[in-house]
Symmetry: C2
Subunit: 221 residues, 2 copies
DNA sequence: CATGCATATATGTCTATTGCATATAAGGCA
DNA sequence: TGCCTTATATGCAATAGACATATATGCATG
């Protein structure tokens, strides 16, 4: 058999927790096709460029994220329906990336074509098959939540147990029992107390934790 | 940005349990590159062909598996290192598929270029990055074992609880406590007793079970 | 300065699950 | 008939989680 030409792209689901809800960064399209639609940031893979490299490049260039090199970035799934792009045959390798809210909030402020949308309620039809890509990203995130320290990628360096629980609840869509969650998290070796406490609370301040050093580069696909 | 041409292939990790060990179907290569090496069955994706369709086609044509349409087939990961194929830039979408032992055993008997190799000990260097693909397939299988009825795809229609436990032990690489495994499996609604018993055993015959009808088309990626 | 509020943090109980040990059942075979 | 091997069932301890409740603490309010 011959080897027909394809274009290969990467599409990125950049997620964070905004206002207690899992949210993804969308980009308003200026060109055909799907002009004016919201789409995931993405781009063509260079002919001498690795897939992960292409994803990191799109992170920096298209979404304007300086901290792209330190973000949690993971290949998600590959979408290759022959009809998924009306222009030509495009196979898209989807990635998802996780950020503390401040990082994506700053990107949205600095770029008028970017916005955050709630993952569980997109609010408008998206370009291409991007709604399916987002659903796959949410599913993967939900599945890894319990056995991998993935939630910390959505939090700043210092966080309280309440913050961490809010992340878990936003992703899983369920309320979690507080003492049980607390024991479970302290039982893992994923977090360590800092001795510091949050400030400016109208109530008793909670202790601040940070992700343990030995899970800094944890992965398990 | 332009869209440089890629070739897109699918590579298949066809697995079963052989002699109590998780095993994968390998094909001896007759052409360059890697002539004489063992490789995963694979092939180019047609320009108007979906990725899953291409995987099913390779299952039937290259590996000679008639029952390919009913097998458990799942996209695994996409490998796209620019150097992974010396001929040209190829992005390969890897799939894994699961079969009862008899299906792959028959394929091996009818085709001299096919053989089964133990996943945990390949015994020889493989072509391309296929060793990494097999490792990824094993990891995915191990991860899904506990929360999905994936093991039944490796067993014939009727099986004993001992058979099922052997599958779990082969994949996880650990010994499992028998009464606990038994209770856990009977506690799920994944299996149902048939009332039949195995025959020709030199000891008390065990009851034969089958996969429950409502998990026949179960998936959760 | 005392009190109350909202939340953090700790503990105690109940239940479900799992590991482990043991007891009983049943077919084949000497 | 009795023994061997495995199937099947059950009892007990250890563990982990859900849930309720008690105590601690910073701040606001009077």
């Amino acid at each position: 058999m011959s080897h027909p030409p394809f274009a290969v792209t990467v599409d990125l689901v950049l997620m964070t927790i905004a206002d207690g809800a899992l949210s993804a960064l969308m980009q308003r399209r200026a060109e055909e096709p799907f002009t004016g639609y919201s789409a995931l940031p993405g781009g063509f893979v260079g002919v001498d460029e690795g897939l992960d490299d292409a994803a990191r490049r799109v992170l920096t260039d298209k979404a304007g994220l300086a901290g792209g090199d330190s973000a949690w970035l993971e290949q998600l799934f590959t979408f290759g329906d022959p009809q998924r792009d009306p222009r030509m045959r495009i196979v898209s390798v989807a990635y998802f990336a996780l950020f503390p809210h401040a990082v994506l909030a700053e990107a949205v402020l600095s770029r008028p074509d970017l916005r955050l949308t709630t993952v569980s309620n997109l609010g408008e039809p998206l370009a291409f098959d991007h709604a399916a890509i987002i659903a796959a990203a949410h599913g993967r995130l939900k599945g890894k939540l319990d056995y991998s320290p993935i939630a910390f990628a959505l939090l700043p360096e210092l966080f309280t147990l309440r913050d961490l629980q809010a992340v878990h609840e936003a992703i899983s869509g369920t309320k979690i029992n507080k003492p049980a969650f607390r024991r479970r998290m302290l039982g893992t070796n994923w977090i360590e107390p800092t001795g510091q406490r949050e400030s400016d609370t109208p109530f008793r301040p909670a202790e601040l934790y940070r992700k343990s050093a030995h899970v800094a580069d944890w992965r398990a696909d």
